[in-house]
Symmetry: C2
Subunit: 343 residues, 2 copies
């Protein structure tokens, strides 16, 4: 593969090279890359802003993460934040810290992943910053979205009689990470090792190339359902549900038997001798939507595919519990991936 040293382009040349083919599609993108700031016109709508910082060795391992997938994921996790507000992502800014070990082609791969995600979700790249890094690859994305004021869904709107719904399934991304980490450890000891991921493709895809659930937001709108609260699952169901309960001042009952878990996730958890419920509750990086609706929406919710009723809110004095298969109530704890405490 061709390798062009970044030094041959220089900083501005590199930015021109990487962003030269970006075409703005949003009517609200008045001005994109090429000036001190991007200019957006959101007219009568609210502007939403979400931001994420991804650091090598913490959030991703380039040994098994293709740069194209990393670019895709870095964009999608920000879109997911905007969808979780019931908004529409419109623009992103993308800042990169890169070291000499990266070639122009590497960065093209990364950008192609970002551009693919943006193209699927109709989002413009309107600015950013590219600099060298003495150490790892650094990615910072800020996403700007919009929503009508009356459509915005907060974390603090749940009522103590609401139903709790969840899109997709849980734990697959975490099991995908376990697989990749194990294969990396094996690979470190033997250079001709060929990992066998047959039958585990779903887990790898969930880890390496997650999706943001625009489809769910759209389905809810079509059914005229406005959730009372919503969040995307990044830290893990326990942690994220506790955020909603804390901010809405409610308790909750979550039913273990209702947790959506894919067959591959269950198989992998067994193989790794892990409790699959713990994986589903605390794995994180699922980027599914967790939301609450009033009891009166039960019937309308039956017409929304791809989501499952997993529990209900309670009065705050009841606390936050998981109801196990045998009917016991276990306190829910935020055991999610806490990147700072863990290091």
């Amino acid at each position: 593969m061709k390798r062009t040293e970044i030094a041959t382009l220089g900083e501005f040349g590199l930015i021109d090279h990487l962003t030269g083919d970006i075409r703005l599609v949003q009517k609200s993108s008045i001005k994109g890359v090429g000036d001190d700031a991007a200019i957006l016109n959101h007219g009568e709508e609210r502007t939403l802003v979400a931001t994420d910082l991804l650091l090598e060795g913490i959030h991703f391992d380039l040994v098994y993460t293709p740069l194209r997938h990393l670019g895709y994921k870095a964009a999608v996790v920000n879109f997911s934040d905007i969808y979780a507000m019931n908004g529409t992502p419109r623009q992103i800014t993308l800042s990169l810290g890169i070291s000499k070990r990266f070639s122009v082609e590497d960065l093209e791969s990364f950008y192609n992943g970002v551009k693919l995600a943006c193209s699927i979700h109709g989002v413009d790249i309107v600015g950013g910053d590219t600099t060298s890094s003495l150490t790892g690859f650094t990615v910072s994305i800020t996403c700007i979205g919009s929503a009508k004021e009356e459509d915005i869904v907060y974390r603090n709107g749940a009522k103590d009689t609401d139903l709790i719904y969840l899109s997709g399934d849980l734990g697959a991304s975490y099991m995908g990470l376990q697989l990749l980490e194990r294969e990396k450890a094996v690979f470190d000891g033997s250079s001709d090792f060929q990992p066998d991921f047959a039958g585990k493709e779903y887990l790898l895809e969930r880890q390496l190339k997650p999706e943001a659930r625009r489809d769910i937001v759209t389905l809810l709108k079509e059914q005229g359902i406005l959730p009372t609260s919503m969040i995307d699952i990044s830290d893990g169901l326990s942690s994220d549900l506790l955020h909603i309960c804390k901010q809405s001042n409610t308790g909750c009952q979550l039913y273990e038997e209702r947790l959506p878990i894919d067959y591959q996730t269950a198989m992998a958890a067994e193989m790794f001798n892990m409790n699959v419920t713990t994986v589903a509750l605390n794995g994180g990086e699922d980027y599914e939507l967790l939301f609450t609706v009033p009891l009166t929406s039960l019937e309308a919710m039956e017409r929304v595919t791809g989501v499952r009723l997993v529990g209900h809110m309670t009065k705050p004095e009841h606390g936050c519990h998981l109801v196990t298969r045998d009917g016991q109530e276990m306190p829910l704890r935020a055991q999610g991936w806490e990147p700072i405490a863990g290091k």
Copy 2:
């Protein structure tokens, strides 16, 4: 000094701790820290977005950079981008990558610097992300500003007969950096070394605690002057003036004898055996405003204090030149600090 390990707070505890005392002051800040995204209402105005990524060892050295100053500078350089569009900064998001070697008090110092800058400029912190870093301290700030459509000043609006103005003076920040680097080298060899910065305070302040020139933007408005193009000096006057010329399709004549240079800068350049003109042209990190106005604004510009006429635009075929004190024309080159090419 008290040292609280970050692990005792956890990620969310840390964020609550650091952002709990933030009060939103902007009418357009509908929702700040505490949900998936910030919500802004810019009504009929344009929204401006600027972003900067600062990495330890590349953009700052914590050996001689107090964290409070770093926080202040990280915020101010983003405000400067918004002022350079003739806009008003309104909100920022702040993402940090931190390692175990930082204490809560360290991060408080950093945040206090950010908050001071925000308070001076009337800007809200509306969101962000905090994560651990395996290596250096990482800072990513995105600033959202606003401006009326008709007030926005681009880089591409200069005409070939326009006058070129510059606020403040140049090269001091670069000489401050040279001083700090030299003292660091001396310090590395002798632990009881006491640097003597007497008479060089201005240079250190320009490097460690630069200001964004809101005052100039305000003065221009008061005089009814709308620049035809504007940029802030981050990479160096040469590099940034060439950006304007390229995007406006003009040439330029810049006069060496007109370059504003402080006495301390000149003395330090002599001490380091550097050409002070080269320092002024290519030092960078001045965060002064470089802008062009029509010839017809010459009289009104005389009522704007703190700026200096440094040259004029020309037709593009004349090229971009520095006219030296002895009347020679030297081609202007972007020799600014190019962080990627240099590594």
